[in-house]
């Protein structure tokens, strides 16, 4: 009797702890769009899709060292521009973690990365419908101050495909991913270096995938491994970091089934002091696409992440031509300088003036025939593909962006941001528009904000994009018209009126006035109302959306032109 009471008592106490020391938090988001016919921009058929809805809800539970969570997703059906495989409803993600500082264990869906991600990175990007979470287990060990060891094991998310091998269809087959990473922070490990101006971190990772050879034509390796080493150094205002990765032969649909090894190098050097910062980054990648399904296309089932290094534009016209990483190889460099002209100087004025300069360029790598005397053509399936000199840069330029920005608070009420961009964008390579001429453009924008009073403000954005060659009068063959849908000159204006802290009203027009094809010289009007309360945001907009590319983190999706009404509701608690 007493025993059962005390057991019950113990359970109640436990339950109480489970309840009282717990925190529950979560978030919800729904993006819906109602599509309408719009002959003006060529939408004469909705293909039976009047409504698209993407939604998720997630809940996290935390109690001391324990946490667990889940995310429910619904695509009913997916919005235009998202992959049709997303269509469906279900529990997409769940996990449980215990971490006491010495050891951390996670089971379920894992997001993590080793170093800069050249060998392993799983992440989720809602706005792209992208999620390559690893479902399995992870162990993190911190055996001594400054030392972190990690191991992961599992299988990656592929839309709604089942995770068990026996349930696989031929086209959702994917392998097991196994990885380990070690990092050593010398400044934390070695007491004498604790407060040193000199900092040093070393790391290394090893990742392998185990896949079944399903090809009747090629001999696909069943184990493919990749390894990387990295170092981060700092001294006072200086910082240097580099990572080098190597992958054994990994024939795949992306690299046209060549049996060449892959390599990547990523380095950065920066100097910063109050009011001034500069960073130089360089990158070389060669055949480093690494997927847990060798037939995977686009961004499917990426095990690693090859970071693009270029400026990320967020305004409408500057972001129209956004670079996306070329998985089979590229050489890239970027320089960025930020400088604040101090307050109280002639150019700095009362509030100081912020300047930024960025230049980035991406070229192809140089590829040579694998056979003596160039007898064999490049990149033939089933061969070693090509050889490539590590430091050689091809004349084939994919992308270049040179931009300069001024950010100035003019007075208590007026604020101005202006930017000039010179762009070179090889649309044939990046977007696959065969035969389309390179986009060479000058882009300018200014963003002026006027604070009417403590609560209300007005914001005006003016933007222009002018192509050097393709504009009004450029001859376009009838059969190639479709490739010119967003080409030529553009103008954009936006006026926003906001009342703090809740309301914002804006109208915008984007106008392709200088398209070489007359029927594409369209206006894209939109009107938007936003209501924000604390962590809740409701946004309703109506109008036209031009065809374009939405990119986050160098991963992009194309958005088809559309017309209609869209609603976004998001909240967190």
């Amino acid at each position: 009797m007493f025993l059962s009471f005390s057991i019950l008592g113990g359970l109640v106490a436990q339950a109480q702890d489970f309840i009282e020391n717990a925190q529950v938090s979560g978030s919800f988001q729904t993006d819906a769009q109602y599509y309408m016919l719009d002959k003006g921009i060529g939408i004469t058929d909705l293909n039976g899709k009047k409504l698209g809805i993407n939604g998720f809800g997630k809940v996290n539970y935390t109690n001391g060292n324990f946490s667990a969570g889940m995310r429910f997703e619904a695509f009913m059906p997916e919005l235009n521009g998202f992959r049709s495989e997303l269509n469906g409803v279900g529990l997409a993600n769940f996990f449980a973690t215990y971490d006491n500082g010495f050891i951390g264990m996670t089971v379920g869906d894992i997001y993590d990365q080793f170093g800069s991600g050249l060998t392993f990175r799983t992440y989720e990007e809602w706005s792209l419908g992208m999620d390559n979470a690893l479902r399995g287990a992870r162990v993190v060990l911190r055996p001594a101050q400054g030392i972190t060891l990690k191991a992961v094991y599992g299988r990656q998310r592929y839309f709604w495909a089942p995770y068990l091998e026996r349930d696989f269809n031929a086209d959702d087959y994917r392998g097991i991913v196994r990885g380990a990473d070690a990092e050593w922070d010398l400044n934390q490990s070695i007491a004498a270096l604790n407060e040193s101006k000199f900092t040093m971190r070393l790391g290394g990772s090893f990742v392998s995938k185990k896949q079944a050879d399903q090809s009747s034509f090629y001999n696909i390796p069943e184990n493919v491994s990749a390894a990387a080493a990295r170092i981060n150094l700092g001294y006072g205002n200086w910082a240097f970091g580099t990572e080098y990765a190597y992958k054994i032969n990994d024939p795949s649909a992306i690299n046209n089934f060549i049996y060449k090894e892959g390599r990547a190098l990523l380095s950065s050097l920066s100097y910063s002091q109050k009011g001034f910062g500069a960073v130089l980054q360089v990158k070389r990648t060669d055949n480093m696409s690494f997927k847990s399904m060798y037939t995977g296309k686009q961004n499917d089932l990426d095990i690693n992440f090859i970071p693009p290094i270029n400026y990320t534009h967020t305004h409408s016209l500057p972001s129209m031509y956004t670079y996306s990483t070329q998985p089979n190889g590229e050489m890239a460099a970027q320089l960025q300088v930020n400088y604040t002209i101090p307050k109280g100087t002639a150019l700095g004025g009362k509030y100081g003036t912020k300047l930024a300069f960025n230049m980035s360029q991406v070229n192809d790598i140089v590829r040579d025939s694998v056979s003596f005397g160039n007898a064999m053509a490049l990149n033939q399936p089933g061969t070693l593909g090509y050889t490539s000199k590590f430091f050689a840069v091809s004349d084939h330029r994919f992308f270049r962006d040179i931009n300069f920005e001024v950010d100035k608070k003019i007075s208590k009420d007026w604020h101005l941001t202006a930017q000039y961009i010179n762009l070179y964008y090889d649309i044939e390579t990046i977007e696959g528009h065969a035969g389309s001429p390179v986009v060479k453009a000058n882009i300018g924008f200014m963003d002026v904000t006027y604070k009417i009073n403590k609560k209300q403000s007005l914001r005006l954005e003016l933007q222009g994009l002018w192509e050097n060659e393709v504009h009004k009068g450029y001859e376009v063959e009838e059969s190639e018209k479709k490739d010119y849908q967003k080409r030529g000159d553009w103008a954009f204006a936006l006026l926003e009126y906001s009342i703090n802290p809740h309301w914002s009203f804006s109208i915008a027009d984007k106008w392709n006035y200088g398209n070489p094809v007359e029927e594409y010289r369209d206006h894209y009007f939109t009107g938007t109302v936003t209501y924000i309360k604390d962590a809740t945001r409701v946004m309703l907009s109506a109008g036209r959306q031009s065809e374009g590319v939405v990119c986050v983190g160098g991963v992009c999706r194309t958005v088809p032109a559309s017309s209609g009404v869209s609603l976004t509701v998001s909240t967190s608690f």
């Binding site: 309840i19 009282e20 020391n21 717990a22 529950v24 978030s27 988001q29 997630k58 809940v59 996290n60 539970y61 935390t62 946490s67 997001y111 170093g115 991600g117 990175r121 992440y123 809602w126 934390q188 900092t199 700092g234 910082a239 950065s268 920066s270 100097y271 910063s272 109050k274 009011g275 001034f276 910062g277 500069a278 970071p307 990320t312 960025q336 300088v337 930020n338 400088y339 604040t340 100081g352 912020k354 950010d407 608070k409 604020h415 904000t449 403590k454 403000s457 914001r459 906001s498 703090n500 802290p501 924000i532 604390d534 962590a535 809740t536 983190g553 160098g554 998001s570 967190s572 608690f573």
Partner: protein, 163 residues
């Protein structure tokens, strides 16, 4: 499933005793580890704001906060932690951008979006106000010109220091 969800929601209603901040460790700009659950500011308010080098409204918010930060510190003792969700493509830029723009906040790097997920942030900018006991008392998403004034009113409400 529904039961579990309900149980979680019910627990949520009762869960008000401990700090709201999750047990997530991030690195600062000098590579030092900072555990978010252990953040403290001697009982004074803490602001945690999520941003990225590529987020225009975030930069505006940070510039605006930086202009008033010194006054706010004098008047309320508030401390601002600015969490960059830049991933490996732009992590190396964070320090030069922060210094180049002259910001004075404590910068933390959430390279793998661990804190972003744990605090249920969907899109930056997203700002949290935490009182001296580690409770989230106010949060706001998005930025319009002047939103910092609203934040400051909220800070004044919980500040022990009076003007």
């Amino acid at each position: 499933m529904t039961l579990l969800l309900m149980a979680l929601v019910v627990t949520g209603l009762h869960a008000q005793t401990k700090s709201d901040l999750p047990n997530v460790t991030l690195k600062d700009l000098n590579g030092k580890n900072v555990n978010i659950a252990k953040l403290s500011n001697n009982g004074n308010p803490i602001v945690i704001t999520f941003w990225a080098t590529w987020c225009g409204p975030c930069i505006k918010e940070h510039n605006a906060l930086n202009d008033v930060y010194e006054d706010w510190q004098d008047e309320t003792g508030v401390k601002i932690y600015s969490v960059s969700i830049d991933d490996s493509r732009s992590t190396a830029k964070v320090k030069p951008v922060v210094e180049g723009k002259g910001w004075d906040f404590e910068i933390l790097l959430d390279v793998n979006s661990d804190l972003k997920r744990a605090m249920n942030v969907s899109n930056p900018p997203h700002t949290f106000l935490i009182d001296g006991k580690g409770k989230i008392v106010y949060q706001h998403t998005g930025y319009f010109e002047g939103a910092e004034d609203e934040l400051y009113e909220q800070i004044l409400k919980i500040s022990k220091k009076k003007k």
